[in-house]
């Protein structure tokens, strides 16, 4: 039974078919089952990360690490360059008989800036690839969207899926064990 909780009429106005599962195991089984039927545009919404779900959904591993490595290298290089420029070029002054610039004494600050930029890179990089902050997302139109961050294990077959057919997808979800399966508007 397809329930539209918004007055969406055209297929283009749909986010997809969404259903809820009792726990993570049922969700994982449903993902495998639905993917076997040829659906590829699936998205799961869960209160905590589920081990193995990326393989089940066919998500590629995150490449965030490479971005963070670049941030870290930028931090270390910027620190070394800055220390060299300030103490050996812009204002050369001998303190304690030490050389104007040396790699050894730059290590602590290079290290700290490497960490600092990596940390910003991890958080902002994560938000960036996830397109967050975001004010609106159609999944919040789902009746039980409020339970996702509580104990709802929600699976969506997105309308972008080439096989997508609203009524059919709701049936597919229900036969995989979903409760409250419905079509969700964009």
């Amino acid at each position: 039974m397809a329930l539209l909780n918004r007055t969406a009429v055209h297929e283009g106005d749909l986010y997809g078919a969404v259903g809820e599962f009792n726990d993570e195991n049922e969700l994982m089984e449903a993902i495998a089952q639905i993917r076997r039927q040829g659906y590829s545009k699936l998205e799961a919404y869960t209160p905590f990360p589920i081990h193995g779900i990326d393989d089940a959904l066919g998500n590629k591993p995150s490449k965030l690490g490479w971005f963070v490595v670049c941030c870290g290298l930028t931090g270390a290089t910027a620190a070394a360059t800055f220390l060299w420029w300030t103490s050996a070029v812009d204002y050369p002054i001998v303190v304690g008989g030490k050389p104007l610039f040396a790699f050894t004494y730059s290590i602590p600050i290079m290290f700290e800036l490497m960490i600092l930029l990596s940390a910003f890179g991890s958080l902002y990089g994560m938000l960036g690839v996830n397109r967050l902050p975001r004010l609106y997302h159609p999944i919040f139109n789902y009746t039980n969207a409020d339970r996702i961050n509580d104990d709802g294990f929600v699976l969506a077959i997105e309308a972008e899926d080439p096989q997508f057919d609203a009524e059919e997808c709701v049936r597919v979800l229900e036969s995989a064990g979903a409760v409250n399966a419905e079509v969700v508007a964009k």
């Binding site: 869960t46 990360p49 589920i50 965030l64 300030t86 600092l116 996830n130």
Partner: protein
């Protein structure tokens, strides 16, 4: 046979939560603390008390700025005294939070999920308290910004001395504070979304909604989120080790007897973890009792923390012994004198307090009954922090007050402003902690659920195994 298997199962996969709990129960129990319509009277009494201490801090700092740092007891030969002692003490306390959230995460110690949020919050508040001292001991904090950070200005017309460990410390501590906040916030995002979804439309929903950044728990998001979290844990681990290492360089790179030693970095880091765990323990014992979280922060969690306290406390004791041995073995007159002066000089009571609190008292934790006794661990958590404060006092004041020239010896006494400022930082620390408990989930909701899920998964495997073997046993021996 089955009994043995059950025992093995409980040993290998001990429950993290007491009692049967569903995911919803976890959400409910932890979120409900932040959803009090009105805070209980006890909370108001506590925050009035800590708020008063906070006002004391503001008064003391205002007085210090208006009169100059002469209002503290620091004077030649003891140029660094309570200010730096308090700085090192607070920053050390902060280390436990990062250790719990980062190092225990990398070591896959799942029990950390019950305590990491509160410990991380405590880290941030402790770093805030620590930062007050170096900032205000400059006397003119608004100008100190130009002395500490390389901000182009027309006031100094020069750059910082990057060869100095004190300057390294500026970078270490400010990076540490920033990264701790980022790490804490990253962990909070899913839980803020939980609070947002639970709130009725209104201001509360808007605030949590803005803070949650539109988090919706999509698995493609969790994928990047877990990666980011792991990277943050990975970089915080060397960071936390570097911070206290660099703090110890402030001393080790000088030529003062008692400071000029290569053992300082590991010794300071162990001491930091030791005192930090003790502070987490003090706060958690009170919080779990006051908020009824005994089923999530179980005795087992506290016992594991006590083991860390025992281990790091023993490392600290070993470091003290090594210092004494090296002082004797070096044959250096000044070095030997400094250490004899610690035991039997005018500040003998400080050294003995430190040694008894840090080396003797935590050794009670070898006994299982003591590790699991709330009263015992509460007392030991307090004595540990007293001991660790005295450790910094011993290192700083006792090394400075009698150095090379007897004609330049002196005796440091704190003033009322010293004492008031120190007490005042407790006001800041505890007020922030109380606000945190009131408005943010003090236990990582999504992480506890993840741990429960993993637990159930392993339990399931054990059950299958036991069933299979029960059938086998029945077949071969005919046991019903």
């Amino acid at each position: 046979m089955a009994d043995l298997a059950t025992v093995i199962r409980e040993e290998c996969n001990p429950p993290m939560l007491e009692g049967e709990m569903s995911y919803h129960d976890i959400t409910e129990q932890i979120s409900s603390i932040t959803e009090w319509k009105k805070a209980p009277r006890a909370w108001w009494i506590m925050i009035s008390f800590t708020g008063t201490l906070l006002l004391l801090l503001l008064t003391m700092l205002t007085y210090l700025v208006s009169r100059g740092i002469g209002v503290w007891g620091n004077n030649s030969p003891v140029g660094w005294a309570w200010d730096i002692t308090n700085f090192v003490w607070w920053i050390g306390i902060g280390h436990a939070g990062t250790l719990i959230s980062a190092i225990l995460f990398l070591l896959r110690q799942k029990w950390r999920t019950a305590i990491n949020r509160a410990a991380e919050a405590m880290t941030i508040f402790a770093v805030a308290c620590a930062a007050i001292f170096p900032l205000f001991h400059t006397g003119r904090p608004w100008r100190a910004v130009y002395w500490l950070f390389p901000i182009p200005n027309t006031y100094l017309h020069m750059w910082q001395n990057y060869k100095s460990p004190l300057e390294w410390d500026v970078f270490a501590v400010s990076t540490y504070g920033t990264v701790s906040i980022l790490f804490w916030y990253t962990g909070l995002i899913p839980d803020l979304a939980t609070l947002r979804d639970r709130s009725a439309p209104g201001l509360r929903k808007i605030i949590y909604g803005v803070l949650a950044l539109g988090w919706r728990g999509a698995s493609t998001h969790w994928k990047h989120y877990e990666k980011a979290y792991m990277i943050l844990a990975g970089i915080s681990t060397p960071l936390v080790l570097s911070v206290h290492t660099i703090v110890s360089f402030d001393f080790a790179v000088s030529v003062i007897p008692g400071w000029h030693t290569t053992i300082f970095p590991p010794y300071f880091v162990a001491g930091a973890v030791f005192s930090g765990f003790a502070m987490v323990m003090t706060l958690l014992i009170l919080s779990r009792w006051a908020l009824g979280l005994e089923n999530i922060i179980t005795i087992r969690h506290l016992e594991l923390m006590n083991k860390v306290i025992l281990a790091t406390g023993t490392i600290v004791g070993y470091a003290y012994a090594t210092e004494f041995f090296i002082a004797w073995y070096s044959g250096d007159t000044y070095e030997r004198f400094t250490f004899l002066n610690r035991i039997a000089g005018p500040y003998w009571w400080a050294w003995w307090t430190m040694t008894i609190c840090n080396c003797v008292i935590p050794q009670f934790f070898w006994i299982k009954k003591m590790r699991r006794n709330i009263a015992v661990m509460f007392i030991i958590s307090i004595t540990t922090n007293i001991g660790m404060w005295f450790e910094r006092f011993v290192i700083i004041v006792l090394s400075l007050h009698r150095d090379f020239m007897p004609s330049a010896w002196g005796y440091f006494k704190p003033t009322l402003v010293d004492i008031g400022t120190y007490l005042g930082t407790f006001g800041l620390f505890l007020t922030l902690y109380l606000l945190f408990v009131r408005f943010l989930p003090m236990i990582a909701i999504s992480e506890v659920k993840g741990t429960l899920s993993a637990q159930r998964h392993v339990d399931h495997i054990y059950e299958h195994y036991l069933e299979a073997h029960a059938a086998e046993a029945q077949e071969s021996h005919g046991i019903a």
